[in-house]
Amino acid sequence: MEAGTLVEWRIKPGDAVTRGQVVAVVETQKGAIDVEIWDSGIVDRLVARPGAKIPVGEVLALLRGDGKTAAPPATTPSAIAPTAVTAPVPSAAQSAADRQKISPSARRLAQELGVDLATVQAQTADGVISRADIERAAATAKPAAVAPAAGDWRAQMRKAIAAAMARAKREIPHYYLATDIDVTPLLAWLAAENAKRSVVERLLPAVPLMKAVALALREVPELNGFWIDGAFRPSSAVHLGMAIAMRGGGLVAPAIHDADRKTCDELMAALRDLITRVRGGRLRSSEMADPTVTLTSLGEQGVAQVFGVIYPPQVAIVGLGRIRERPWVTAGTVAVRQVLTASLAADHRVSDGHRGALFLAALDRLLQAPETLAEKA
């Protein structure tokens, strides 16, 4: 991603802005993205004009710190690229540079690859930019080098997917596990729950499944985090990347933040909001940037199981197939049960099959007690 087109401003000079606020909308290869600001302050001046094509890292606006009259050149670079994962809005070149922590080898690599450091954001809690962060920024920059005309974002998205998936298959030694889970109790609980709810409050089966996946990940932290610079960096938060198909092809996997700490109702609201914005082409830069693991659910299309390709630098992807009626043997008796095949593709550099199996076992255990899933936060 090298450039985006500024669609509109959501702020004007004199406005007070807070970190995380959406300040502008930028058209990119993945559709329109809401650009969030990474500093708080007062908007001093809008530099970029709507309609203008803006290279990543370019100053979009000037901020001044809260209450100060002097205007340190805080800025809103063109952030954007969902894939540029990062690129959001540091402040002015200098102040950003002051704050940025970066390893010397990563800085050299950035120079070699022509990556603007102002557009790079560290993936880890310590905030140190690594070679992997630079590589990711460079990789995502490339597809866009081919003129991202507004109309062919779908082709651009295809290229972004191609780059990420080719890298995954090249670099990540995947291992794959799957198990069948009896979800009859889950569906019974869900049906009873939804019968009590009005149509707008209903939960989709995906919701308790997301919750169980997020909680099970807490038990096996080797599956949640990033592989960066030859080392695993676990994430204490579970930001669940939801693979969401676009109508007519393509997909994105933006994050539902802290999925393990959300109630089922909060997850449903978050999922609804996310799918609506994916299909309406309105994602936020941070959502594209920081999933710590991905969940893909192809059951809707009728397949019994799916083995995912890990999205680098993540280290695992969980796959859910279609829930279907199957003969199921318990205590010597065959019964018809609702069965879901859950799979895990994980990075063998970080975890082994034994740990992966524990994750699937935890998922199974959690799904047998759906009523406790609902409340757990």
Partner: protein, 90 residues
């Protein structure tokens, strides 16, 4: 308001689908074939159709009745019953 007729109910369904799948031409939908596959509606889309029908027609379709909405024809029959219309003209 008098009970809606088949045509109005069909229009409501097209309206609900059109909000989700604007590329679909209602004329291409085969009324006796499964609706969701033809229009490529996932469970989220389908829930939105149910919500939209709730807004348009004021009826709450319980989950246990989702099977009644398998095809366009069956959905219209079902909605006709739910909206208190007569099926006599069928």
């Amino acid at each position: 308001m008098s009970a809606p007729d088949r045509q109005q109910l069909q229009a409501a369904i097209f309206d609900a689908i059109g909000a989700i799948a604007p590329e679909v031409d209602p004329a291409d939908i085969r009324p006796d074939q499964p609706l969701r596959q033809q229009v490529d509606l996932d469970s989220f889309d389908f829930l939105n159709v149910i919500i939209r029908l709730h807004e348009i027609l004021g009826i709450d379709i319980p989950e246990s009745d989702y099977g009644e909405l398998l095809t366009l024809d069956r959905a219209v029959d079902y909605l006709l019953r739910r909206c208190g219309g007569s099926t006599a003209g069928k």
